[in-house]
Amino acid sequence: MKLHDDLVMEIISHLPLKLAVQCKVVSKNLNHWISDAKFSHTLFQHQKVNTLFFSSGGASVIRRELQRIFRNGRLIVPTIQHQTTSPFRFRVISVCNGLLLLDFIELGTFCVFNPVTGSHQLILYPQHYRHMRCGQAGLFVDYPVSDQYKLITVERLDQGKGYKFHLLSSSSSSGLWHEFQINNNSKPVHLHDSLHWLTATGRILSFDIKRQEATILDPPDLLNIHHNPKRRCGRGPRIIYSSNEWLVKVQGQLTLVCTYHKSSVIVAYDCQSRNWRVSPILDQRIRTVLPTCINGKQVLFLVVDGYLYEYDSHINTYKKVAVYREEYGFPSSMYPFKPSLAPVHETLISTRVDAKHLPGIGEGVDQSRDFTLGDIEGQCDDSSRTIQRRASS
């Protein structure tokens, strides 16, 4: 008998992600449905998908590896380090709605990449961005509302004169970046539809995608009470997740985790009331911040020496939840990743990437995909494993 189309889709949504995607080749109708956001929603309801964490080592030190830590229930499974054999160094610099933003530093090229579908788009840095060496970029993916995404870069102007933003929309056929300057400090900061960066002096730069506005937000003065001798000044603020502070969005609040020599404090900004809330002081140094999502609820995990702590912003308390072993590593920036079928647009013809670099980029992208898919399907193995160098390379 011939099954009703809805039932065929229902069955396919029970397939492991990789195989469901493979069904795109069965027929045009299936391809259309599988690419639909609604299907993706059903699919992920049936699948026990792990949240992956991507890290790229230190923000200034670029290492040829991706680390992953995935959570299984409440336990952290050991980190598996992945060596990539791509001839080009790249790092994950932003993650949004299932798409990764990779940065191929030597090539001056960004790569928007969906590890589930394997499609990627190459985008050249905005002009002069490459030479700044201290800029940051972020990815905003509008999926499933639309199939569009936007790439935003932020860089410091010379002599501390402020900051400059560039925006490129996937709907743009010209591939041209648009430039924005910071307007003024008094505009409200929105959490949704915004990207945020932290400067080394602790200021928060915010770019609102929908309104196309850039603003600066300053954390409360009281953070200065905790004197921090390590804070770098002088050369002007670099735009990085500085080593003492991290900026994450959890529970609908912009949350800044500040850690000092022997203590830590968390401040959360409520965009509606425009108020900061300060947590109790934790008498320990936080090594790593892991924002994640459990059963649809955002939770902030903190790695303190030897232990994993959960911070609950509603009741404003810390709770020790698990042992955290040193060998899991202490990456300085972590991006939680949930797979989606968000489409990636094709690289524009005007994007001039030297053809001889394409195989190397492809290799890096392929390996990120193998790495991601292996974990999405929950094949937890505790040992380290390394992708074999391909015979051809």
Partner: protein, 163 residues
């Protein structure tokens, strides 16, 4: 003390299949189906099921009876029953999945979909088309393009069989 329920009159329902066979079942068994439950709540005791054929209905009634008596002690027994229940051809599974969908029996729906999904897991796209009776509407060029875009998914050996 154990037999107080015996004296109570059990409420019964009559289900009528698409090929006009009638089956009498206990109401408590039938209401595991959301569709039947809604009709019972509206006062019906005679339930025509124009989309469910006798062959599938017999199997589904078996399933409902088994699952209505679920306790902690017969867990293993039910597992064995379920395993036998889905051990059949694709076409039979499709009949059952259509019936379970019409009757809104979500646990059965899930089990059947998962079973079929597990069985098509290693199949080639050609085999999947045949199993689902789907016509390929791609031109060879279009198909090659989409395979290329998803190249990694198409590595390894496929199972071409249709059972």
């Amino acid at each position: 003390m154990a037999s107080t329920t015996e004296t109570k009159q059990k409420k019964m329902l009559i289900l009528k299949s698409a090929d006009n066979d009638e089956f009498e079942i206990e109401e408590s068994v039938g209401v595991q189906s959301e569709t039947i439950k809604n009709l019972v709540e509206d006062g019906f005791t005679f339930v025509p099921l124009p989309n469910v054929y006798t062959k599938a209905l017999i199997k589904i009634i078996d399933y409902l009876k088994k699952h209505a008596n679920k306790t902690d002690s017969n867990d293993e027994e039910i597992k064995t029953f379920d395993k036998d229940f889905v051990n059949t051809t694709f076409d039979d599974l499709f009949e059952l999945v259509s019936a379970a969908n019409y009757l809104h029996i979500s646990c059965l729906m899930n089990m059947l979909c998962q079973t079929i999904a597990d069985r098509i897991k290693d199949k080639s796209p050609e085999a999947v088309r045949k199993i689902f009776h789907i016509n390929c509407d791609y031109t060879p060029e279009e198909e090659a393009k989409i395979r290329k875009a998803n190249a990694q998914a198409f590595e390894g050996q496929f199972d071409e069989s249709l059972d």
